[in-house]
């Protein structure tokens, strides 16, 4: 009998969307496992989500303290062994601070927090969260952040663009890129990126808030379905 994919969701002090991510995983047919920042233990999960929020208040650089939490030693090892890791919003910031992804997330160009549903254009299917999606396809997912403008050094940007590491870009609902459709002024409209292997993905939008049609759009469903499928594949491997 096949078992459900077990998806760990890390709670840092100040994590806010951890319960939401667990609920979304369960609603998509996964088994959500709560992980605690102070533990050196991933409880044998098949994939890890670093959720949104303001870990440690984000009073230092966003994600900087969380990136040095005990559990991140284990997440780092898991990622290097090819385990699927998804960082959402604050989780994306943590992954950048932990050196698992390129670039950094800085204050929105507007200097204001922004919460709205955005359209994302899929740039690559070669990741743990875009299996089954086609480049050019559009999904609608909410963003909510004050520091979500992805920036990078010229070298990093060359690498990220040159090696196809961009996973999503903010676009209009017609797929066209524009400043108006870019909620935070991110470089090259980048909403999410991956590592070389494609098992580690960070994105600012919140797929866990886009699975339940009663409360919002459903563009997060294919992302989480992909993560669950990848996690399950890892179980067999």
């Amino acid at each position: 009998m096949t078992r459900l994919p077990r998806i760990g969701v890390v709670t840092f002090p100040g994590s806010l969307d951890d319960a939401d991510a667990r609920r979304a995983v369960e609603s998509m047919g996964g088994d959500a496992v709560a992980l605690w920042h102070a533990d050196h233990d991933l409880a044998g999960v098949d994939a890890v989500i670093l959720p949104g929020g303001f870990s440690y208040g984000d009073y230092l650089r966003c994600g900087a303290i969380a990136a040095r939490a005990p559990i991140m030693d284990e997440v780092g090892g898991f990622a290097r062994r090819g385990g699927p890791v998804l960082g959402i919003c604050n989780g994306f910031q943590v992954l950048c601070e932990a050196g698992l992804l390129d670039g950094a997330l800085v204050r929105n160009a507007s200097l204001r927090f922004v919460c709205e549903d955005v359209w994302l254009r899929v740039e690559t299917a070669q990741t743990s969260v875009t299996l089954g999606l086609t480049p050019g396809e559009l999904v609608q997912i909410p963003v909510k952040h004050g520091e979500g403008r992805w920036v990078a050094t010229a070298e990093q940007l060359d690498r990220v663009e040159g090696e196809g590491l961009v996973v999503f870009r903010y676009s209009g609902r017609d797929g066209v890129l524009s400043d108006a459709a870019n909620p935070n002024g991110a470089t090259n409209h980048i909403a999410g990126i991956r590592n070389d292997a494609g098992n580690v993905v960070g994105l600012m939008p919140h797929p866990e808030h886009a699975v339940d049609p009663d409360v919002g759009p459903t563009g997060g469903q294919p992302l989480l379905a992909s993560l669950l499928e990848t996690a399950l594949a890892g179980v067999g491997a």
Binding site: P13, G14, L16, D17, A19, D20, R23, A24, G52, G53, F54, Y56, G57, D58, Y59, R112, F113, V114, C115, E116, P142, K144, G146, H206, E208, H209, D212, D214, V215, G216
Partner: protein, 731 residues
């Protein structure tokens, strides 16, 4: 000559005498400080109590009424909804970001101390006109503070309202409502838990500093005069991260049944938490101030006792459970200190460095404060002529553009875009809706909540203004299909020592009472914010009503926007020539006189019942309150939502501008598929509510009888860009 200390602390001479009589001696400095905060207007409700007692508080659904940290309503199946509104206006007038932020923090702790998880925030705000730079600073600062705090604690901000009036230039009003969910049998109230002599009082959360000293007395219970900026040290500084930890730790402590009592620290700080906890338990307490974690080692006893440092809670813990409590707090990284022990006898004894620095009956601080029936006097009004009597021959399309661009009507997207509205994943409808709808997790039930204040109506007639606020809040809930159940209220007024203000207050309470009785929506609690005035300029009497309703199935929620073309549009209710206090009168005619519209509570009740019944039978595809800006604004908003235009004829023989912009009460605009029209008319007749078929949805334009003809996209542009334009932003 310097004033005596008690007056500097905001106590009257006769209040000082009362303290001397209670203690049988003159109070020392620390004791005076304690009485001054506990007997402040803000904490003691000394000027309002006599009136508040007349409000209806009983109802089948009421689980917890006034007198606790928040009210609670039975949502069926063992679910309880907790809600409460508060003001943080004075701090926000001085330091808008921190003032608004700590207002959010305070109300959230009220909900937590009831044992409920905070699930939604709404922010009714009032500012002076945005053409003034300082008003823009206040507006932007308050909005940033609400977002900065609310977004960081994982509680969605899902609604509220924003109004503008000259008098708010020096006195912005910042109210905040919080909704919480709990299991009814797990609510924490002074009745639900039993505290014992020998039990320990554990202070947990942030350390105590010199911020917010005398906030309730110096700041909240006096008018803001020139130089009020000097009171800035009385504004607290918020730490939302600490609040988030406090929420999780507190709910865990309650879940694990480790507590005998729980109290948040807000106004009047440790003094209030200690004395209320002890008095509610019918006991006293031995307090050791040396145990209180301090930010500055040399703080004096009176400073420790009255500091309003944020993000602190006080738990009453049986000694056998102390270790478990400390472990939970440690897991969340929270500082803890055992600061007091409950004792028999009712005396609060406070020690500092081995000496008794204050001693008094706990009850004397909490329950034995002064109570005033202050003199009231109705002002003489002369401008009672309704603006509808003034002929108007202007262009009505232009008038509609003007009304839609009025800041009170215009889209508030600029504001709510800055609020996290989706965290927790239960926001069925947010600020774009007449009322917010929050799903109760694991059920199909929806808690529906709206907040409304009618300051312009209140100025013209405070009795009617308060009734309208209740009625409109109920209507905003009912258009979603939900049955209005109960209210919480935030009463924003000027200086109660002025007879005119006290008259406004008494009239407002009378109006609220009559409306709540007629609509069967009892009062579960609230907050009084007096002294919103400076110089000769008091704010309009503005009771803000937070109305709670229940949807048995959130999927039956009725949206406000026209969902498609080809639907019949009905106006429910009657329109009369009533432009007094209307947006049209102010924005177009520049006339702020007259009387508010009449309000027949039996008709209002009938409309509410009809709306709920029609939603229950899924007859209507949209429903929108017809209030601010009249029928014209209501139709425009219905069209702007999803871009479906309309063509309607005016149903009355009133002059066109009156029919379009009159703000007659007890009306709603609904859209209905042809197949359901007969049934809707039948249902309306059964409820004795006039239902006029005024036209149909469809097309790209807003067409009203030849009077208005404009593309919906143009209306949307006017409505959406008005606020950003006022803030000087490129749009």
């Amino acid at each position: 000559m310097t004033e005596p200390l008690h007056r500097q602390l905001g106590l009257e001479d006769d209040e000082h005498d009362r303290i001397v009589a209670t203690l049988g001696r003159a109070p020392n400095r620390a004791e005076l400080a304690m009485y001054s905060v506990m007997w402040s207007e803000h904490c003691s409700y000394k000027s309002s109590k006599v009136h508040l007692k007349t409000l209806p508080i009983e109802g089948d659904a009421v689980l917890v009424g006034p007198g606790q940290d928040a009210g609670a309503i039975d949502a069926g199946d063992g679910d309880a909804i907790v809600f409460k509104i508060e003001s943080h206006s004075h701090p926000s007038a001085i330091e808008p970001y921190q003032g608004a932020a700590t207002g959010v923090g305070g109300i959230v702790r009220d909900i937590v101390s009831m044992g409920a998880r905070p699930v939604a925030l709404l922010d009714p705000l009032m500012f002076g006109p945005l053409d003034d730079a300082r008003n823009r600073w206040l507006f932007e600062g308050v909005v940033a503070g609400i977002g900065g705090y609310g977004n960081c604690i994982g509680v969605p901000t899902v609604g509220g309202e924003i109004r503008f009036a000259d008098a708010h230039s020096s006195n912005p009003c910042v109210n905040v409502l919080c909704l919480g969910f709990a299991k009814a049998d797990e609510l924490v109230t002074s009745q639900s838990l039993e505290a014992h002599a020998g039990s320990l009082m554990v202070l947990y959360g942030a350390a105590t500093g010199r911020d917010g000293i005398g906030g309730v007395s110096v700041l909240a219970s006096a008018t803001l005069e020139d130089g009020a900026e000097a009171a800035r040290p009385s504004v607290q500084i918020g730490d939302p991260f600490a609040e988030k930890l406090l929420i999780e730790a507190s709910l865990e402590l309650i879940d694990a049944e480790l507590l005998e009592g729980l109290q948040d620290l807000g106004g009047a700080g440790i003094t209030c938490a200690l004395s209320e906890s002890a008095a509610r338990a019918g006991m006293g307490a031995d307090v050791d101030l040396d145990a209180v974690p301090l930010r500055a080692a040399d703080m004096e006893p009176f400073e420790i006792l009255t500091s309003e440092s944020q993000e602190r809670m006080l738990a009453i813990v049986h000694p056998s459970k102390l270790d478990a409590v400390l472990a939970v707090c440690a897991r969340w990284g929270l500082r803890t200190a055992v600061v007091a022990t409950l004792v028999e006898g009712g005396t609060l004894t406070i020690r500092h460095r081995g000496e008794v620095v204050a001693q008094m009956p706990a009850r004397s601080l909490v329950d034995e404060g002064p109570e005033y029936d202050r003199p009231r006097a109705a002002p003489v009004r002369t401008d009672t002529l309704d603006p509808a009597l003034t002929p108007f021959d202007g262009d009505l399309t232009e008038a509609l553009r003007t009304v839609l661009a009025a800041p009170g009507i215009a889209s508030k997207r600029w504001v709510w875009r800055q609020y996290d509205r989706v965290v927790q994943g239960n926001t069925v409808a947010g600020p774009e809706s007449d009322a917010a709808v929050i799903r109760i997790p694991g059920t199909l039930k929806g808690a529906v909540v709206s907040s409304d204040g009618k300051g312009r109506f209140g100025r013209l007639d405070p009795y009617l203004g308060a009734m309208h606020a209740v009625a409109e809040a109920a209507r905003n809930v009912a258009v979603t299909g939900a049955r209005p159940v109960a209210i919480t209220n935030c009463l924003n007024f000027g200086n109660p020592e002025r007879p005119e203000v006290m008259w406004q207050f008494a009239e407002s309470i009378r109006g609220m009472r009559d409306a709540c009785e007629a609509l069967d929506t009892p009062v579960t609690g609230g907050n009084v914010s007096f002294y919103n005035e400076s110089g000769e300029s008091a704010i309009d009497p503005t009771p803000v009503i937070g109305m709670l309703g229940l949807l048995s199935d959130h999927r039956l929620r009725v949206p406000s926007a026209f969902p498609s073309p080809g639907l019949a549009i009905y106006l429910l209710g009657e329109t009369a020539a009533e432009l007094g206090g209307s947006e049209f009168a102010e924005a177009v005619l520049g006339d702020i006189g007259g009387m508010p519209p009449a309000l027949d509570l039996a008709k209002e009740r009938a409309l509410l019942d009809l709306l709920v019944a029609a939603a229950g039978e899924t007859l209507v595809t949209s429903a929108h309150d017809c209030g601010d800006g009249g029928l014209a604004a209501a139709l425009a908003e219905c069209a702007i939502g999803l871009g479906h235009g309309f063509a309607v004829s005016l149903p009355t023989d009133l002059p066109s501008h009156v029919a379009l912009f009159s703000e007659s009460a007890s009306r709603a605009v609904v859209s209905v598929p042809a197949v359901d029209e007969d049934r809707l008319r039948e249902l309306a007749a059964a409820h004795h509510v006039p239902a006029a078929r005024i036209g149909e949805t469809g097309g790209p334009r807003a067409l009203i009888d030849g009077a208005v003809d404009i593309p919906v996209t143009e209306l949307a542009e006017v409505w959406e860009t008005a606020i950003p334009r006022m803030l000087g932003e490129a749009v």
